[in-house]
């Protein structure tokens, strides 16, 4: 199994969810996060003084998928979240050892 963590633009969350739903990936966890990449944010002004917004709001989507569909899921996420502009985000892939259902206590296979 793979844990796929994608940090995407907040307005792309629905597109990514739709794309993963089409692949019958059953669940996801979404977290509001802040971060920066190479651009180090941007500047803003308040009452005549400039300040740096170094950490921009993003949404992190976590899904755990079988190894066999990981490649396809990553492609779907990138396809759905991509605008081609700076700030589209990142996808991280991490091996997941096990996963359990808390209600039944069963271990997924």
């Amino acid at each position: 199994m793979k844990l796929i963590k994608s940090v995407v633009r907040p307005n792309k969350v629905d597109d990514v969810r739709d794309a993963l739903e089409k692949m019958n990936i059953p669940g996801m966890t979404v977290t509001e996060v802040r971060g920066h990449g190479r651009q180090k944010g941007h500047t803003a002004v308040y009452r005549g003084k400039e300040y740096n917004v170094s950490l921009l709001p993003k949404v992190e989507i976590e899904v755990v998928v079988p190894d066999a569909v990981a490649e396809e899921a990553i492609k779907a996420i990138i396809g759905a979240a991509r605008t081609g502009e700076i700030g589209d985000g990142r996808v991280f892939v991490i091996p997941a050892e096990h996963s359990y259902n808390i209600r039944t206590g069963e271990r997924d296979v």
Partner: protein, 490 residues
Amino acid sequence: MKGKAGVVGRLGLILTLLVFSFILRPAVVAAQDAAAPAVQAAASPAPAAAAAPAIDNTKVALDTIWVMITAFMVFFMNLGFAMVESGLCRQKNTVNILFKNFIVFAASSLAFLFVGWGVMFGDGNPFIGLQGIWFSAGADNSPMTGDAYQGVYHAIAWATVPFWAKFFFQLVFAGTAATIVSGAVAERIKFLSFFLFTFILVGAVYPIIGHWIWGGGFLATKGMFDFAGSTVVHSAGGWAALAGIIMLGPRLGKYKDGKVHPIMGHNMTSAALGVFVLWFGWFGFNPGSTMSADWASIAHIAATTNMAAAAASVTSLITIWMIAGKPDLSMTLNGCLAGLVAITAPCAFVSMSSAVLIGAIAGPLVVFAVLFFDKLKLDDPVGALSVHLANGVWGTLAVGLFADPTVTPAASVVKAGLFKGGGTAQLMPQIIGIVSVGAFVFTVSLVAWLVIKMLFGLRVSAQEEIEGLDFGEHGNAAYPDFQTVEPSEA
């Protein structure tokens, strides 16, 4: 804990003194009650009273309704200030700022009843009212005016409204002066120290300078005019706030490495709501200051008030847009308030085009004042100095520049301003008024802040300031549901 107990003990002492002062009350109340039957006798249309000037019941009724409704609108401005100030400060200090704005009107009400009204309008010398001070209970047969007036509040005997209408209208103004301070000292002052300062400001400082200008004092004699309080209310509040800011120092992190670090307000919705409420309230503040349903004056004043606010909003917008490259909402909101403060003194005395010009100058003035005070490292989270002090001074000066005795019935008292062919006849008293009020309020406030600092301390600890005054001063939070962990588990 020992420190807290000491503070409560001292507060207890103050309360005890207040209770003692209550004992003095019955004697003076009797004096007022004795005057009351005289009013009723005069009010009844009995032919026997024909020798004495009879009361025009319709006029008194209309004037009273007008004064009361506008007073209620000025009361509503407390909400405006609460919303502006909490919106322009950080989330972690929201309970504290709302609380200060809330309690300030309660404290002002008591202080103004106990001594403020009497010091301001009581008969006395050119510097202070001396009669009818305690519990505002001096003799008074309002709404009698002129020679028929019998009582100890001669300075305001011209208003054809009952005593408590005069009192209530003046009370809500006193509350406004006090609430100006709370925004300027926000996010770092101890709740108790601010609370105590309110009593000093409304009980002593504000009424004394109010006596000078509205209570028949030496500035009134000199011919200074401040129609609705650019100086009495706004610059006085501003000077008191300036003294507080100097004593407190800036918020942590505002000025670092020779640079100004903006500290963003947490809720622009609140700030905009507050300014709309204040703009609305000002239609009570200025037109109500006629204290009579003088139809020609109140319509004119409502229009000048609005035009100055509109002009200042637009010119402050253009100014900040040119300086910062973006139209900044909070600065434009300050711009609107600046125009309202500036037109407060001249609203009844100037033509519509002068009102537009006064507002148009107030807009850039507030923007440059904000940048200027930041240069001096005077940290004013909501721009209260720039709005109330800078523009209170400007508005008072504007009377001397643009006054035209022909614009309204209420304007007949002023001399023509510098730009209306009157030379400096009206300008000089205005300048004397600005300087004497500034010197007095600033000095006395500085001493008051110093005494409070020695007794109770002024500033919260650095730790508390970082964690937020909501938790440190009040033990709770404005938006607990926005946290992912319940605060009760902490």
